[in-house]
């Protein structure tokens, strides 16, 4: 006699599978929420840092430039935040409302930082090395991904360089104003370096040519590294 089908067993297997399936959905949702919260908390920290720097700047208007603490480490924070946001866009889709909000907030922080750096540098007479980058991830910019890789590499290589990346299509009035102030056309990727717009893909070498100071930074760093190596050999 053939073993009979036990309906109970089929149902039990179904219930367990459904539990595992929806459990996975919930776990995944939890992870997404915790990622969003992490990005949010980094943004809050950066926001606080900017506010602190602005306040410091206002207080010390008359005193020495060196006192104002708006370090390159801050640029690294923005860099890491940009990468995390890009990852969230990839995994949660760029249309996700929470991601869009975080991106808007991030864009505002960048503009605030840009203004602060400009003020500090104007007071101290130093020309800021900033790159403003406009991209699109709507699928209409083939080179934006590559340009993103280039800028990430440059950010890591030159912490002195401040790169501000804006989604050209972001529905945020501050970003629209930024676009019109910089006079950027919808030919992406677009870079604004020293108030001059550049269109199309630019390799690290192209950018190093546009910003000759980068070479000086590298030479200075190489020299310092060589000296440090020589000192340790002597010891």
């Amino acid at each position: 006699m053939r073993a009979k089908i036990e309906t109970k067993k089929y149902i039990l297997a179904f219930v367990i599978t459904a539990t595992v399936f929806f459990g996975a959905l919930m776990i995944s949702g939890r992870f997404e929420q915790s990622r969003l919260a992490e990005v949010k908390s980094v943004e809050n920290k950066i926001s606080l840092d900017i506010l602190s720097s602005e306040t410091q700047f206002a207080l010390l208007k008359e005193s020495s430039c060196k006192v104002i603490d708006h370090s390159t480490a801050f640029s690294e924070e923005l860099n890491s935040l940009a990468q995390k946001l890009a990852y969230m866009e990839d995994t949660l889709s760029e249309k996700n409302a929470e991601v869009v909000n975080l991106k808007k907030y991030y864009s505002l922080l960048q503009i605030k930082d840009y203004l602060l750096v400009a003020q500090v540098n104007e007071k101290c007479g130093v020309k800021p090395i900033t790159v403003i980058y406009f991209y699109s991830n709507k699928g209409d910019c083939d080179d934006c991904k590559r340009e993103g890789y280039v800028l990430t590499k440059l950010r890591e290589e030159y912490p002195e360089l401040r790169i501000y990346a804006f989604d050209y299509n972001l529905d945020l009035s501050a970003v629209k104003t930024m676009k019109s102030i910089q006079g950027v056309r919808n030919t992406l990727p677009a870079l604004v370096i020293s108030d001059e717009p550049y269109y199309g893909f630019k390799s690290p070498e192209d950018i190093e040519k546009i910003i000759p100071d980068l070479k000086k930074f590298r030479e200075a760093r190489d020299k310092a590294a060589a000296e440090a190596a020589a000192t340790s050999t002597k010891k």
């Binding site: 006699m1 053939r2 073993a3 009979k4 089908i5 067993k9 089929y10 039990l12 297997a13 179904f14 367990i16 599978t17 595992v20 399936f21 996975a24 959905l25 776990i27 995944s28 992870f31 997404e32 990622r35 992490e38 995390k84 990852y87 995994t91 991904k145 590559r146 890789y149 280039v150 990430t152 590499k153 890591e156 390799s203 690290p204």
Partner: protein, 413 residues
């Protein structure tokens, strides 16, 4: 939009696959007390007379070892006869087996080549034993295998066929090691299908039948060069019980090269699909139990699901590799190395489902190894099986699908 559509199909397939894993695991927990790997050595109350047929065609290299393993079986000599049937070999097989002339347990037969099923049928027709089985000339039996199988027949009068646990013989190449784990996994699943009366193949190496089975349903047929599957399905269609005895171990040679493996698996995959189609009247029919509701649908549709999942993974892998290449070309190798950060650990729904699926799969592999070897032993085969099988299997599955569509027979070799 298109991507969402394909993702949704994958979710459905993942749900079904997960369901099957859970179903087998529930069966495992029901059966776990009967899964001892210890062999009982006490004498049987009754030793059924048994004929083992060894069909051979150009097996000069392995035939002696196969026969010697049969002669070493712990089974009363007067109850066991061995038929060596040379199916018109063109090499020295017939000369090699002459050394067994005079052994009272062995009978040698020579016939014109007609295919494996004709050789086995020839043996069946010449046997008068209670139990009749077959052993492929590239396989070797464990000395207790027949004893364990006879016990299963003694314990249940309704058992009409018993299949052993197949283990890969001395795996050497990467592909053989991969197959070793595949066989372990298969052994676990077969053992789970056994109490559910849902076994769909009585493999050539050492499946043993009661003599009356042949009287009832006839002899072997050509059956798309997978007669061992057709025979099992024919038995199932007559509601004849097939059991798997995991304590009866049989070692079988496995293809060492990709081409040989491809030829063998193409024959199996093609035969599985064609035979399932031939016996499709049992599919989704409650009266054929789990066989009709699970085994046969997996046998046929499993290939499509496997290939869909493979295409999905391959598509995403190719896309991310292409992205990586663009990144390396743009900024160099060093800058393209990803930074280790838990933030970037993939935890989306699909990924978590895959981890769970893989986790349950490893649990099944683990228990397959325990069933075969008595305890878990990590081996490189497990690694190869997990990472390599999904890459090589599509080669024969795709070809088998094409052949099924064109009704093109697969050759033996």
């Amino acid at each position: 939009m298109v991507e969402t559509f394909f993702n949704d199909i994958l979710y459905v397939f993942l749900f079904f696959s997960l369901y099957l894993e859970v179903f087998f695991l529930i069966t495992f927990f029901e059966e776990r007390l009967k899964l001892s790997t210890k062999k009982l050595h006490e004498k049987l109350s009754y030793y059924p007379s048994t004929t083992i047929i060894v069909p051979c065609w150009n097996e000069e290299k392995t035939i002696s070892k196969t026969i010697e393993s049969l002669l070493r079986l712990h089974y009363p000599k007067n109850k066991l006869e061995i038929f060596i049937i040379d199916d018109g070999s063109t090499d020295r097989t017939w000369e090699v087996v002459q050394k067994f002339v005079g052994n009272p347990q062995i009978k040698l037969f020579h016939k014109e080549n007609g295919g494996k099923h004709t050789a086995v049928n020839f043996g069946i027709e010449n046997s008068k034993a209670d139990l009749i089985g077959c052993l492929d000339a590239d396989s070797f039996v464990d000395k207790n295998a027949l004893h364990e199988i006879a016990r299963a027949f003694n314990e249940d009068r309704d058992t009409m066929a018993v299949t052993p646990m197949l283990v890969v013989h001395e795996p050497k190449t990467i592909l053989q090691k991969m197959q070793e784990t595949e066989y372990h996994t298969g052994a676990f699943l077969k053992r789970m299908l056994s109490p559910l009366d849902a076994i769909n193949v009585t493999p050539g190496p050492f499946s043993i039948f009661r003599r009356e089975v042949f009287a009832k349903i006839g002899l072997y047929k050509k059956a798309h060069n997978t007669e061992d599957m057709e025979f099992a399905l024919r038995m199932q269609s007559h509601h004849l019980r097939i059991r798997n005895v995991h304590t009866a171990q049989v070692y079988t040679s496995s293809p060492a090269t990709l081409y040989k493996l491809y030829r063998q698996r193409l024959r199996w995959a093609y035969g599985t699909m064609k035979n399932t189609l031939d016996y499709r009247f049992m599919m989704f029919r409650r009266e054929y139990g789990v066989l009709g509701m699970i085994t046969l649908p997996i046998s046929f549709f499993g290939v499509f699901i496997f290939l869909y999942n493979f295409s999905f993974i391959a598509f995403h892998a190719v896309r991310s590799i292409a992205d990586k290449i663009v990144q390396i070309v743009t900024v160099g190798f060093i800058s393209a190395i990803p930074r280790a950060n838990s933030f970037y650990f993939n935890t989306d729904f699909m990924a978590i489902l895959s981890y769970m699926f893989l986790g349950l799969g490893i649990f099944i592999i683990w228990n397959g190894v325990v069933l075969a070897e008595g305890r878990f032993r990590p081996s490189s085969g497990i690694f190869y099986f997990i990472f390599l099988y999904g890459i090589v299997a599509p080669i024969w599955f795709i070809r088998a699908l094409i052949n099924v569509a064109l009704s093109r027979e697969s050759k033996w070799r």
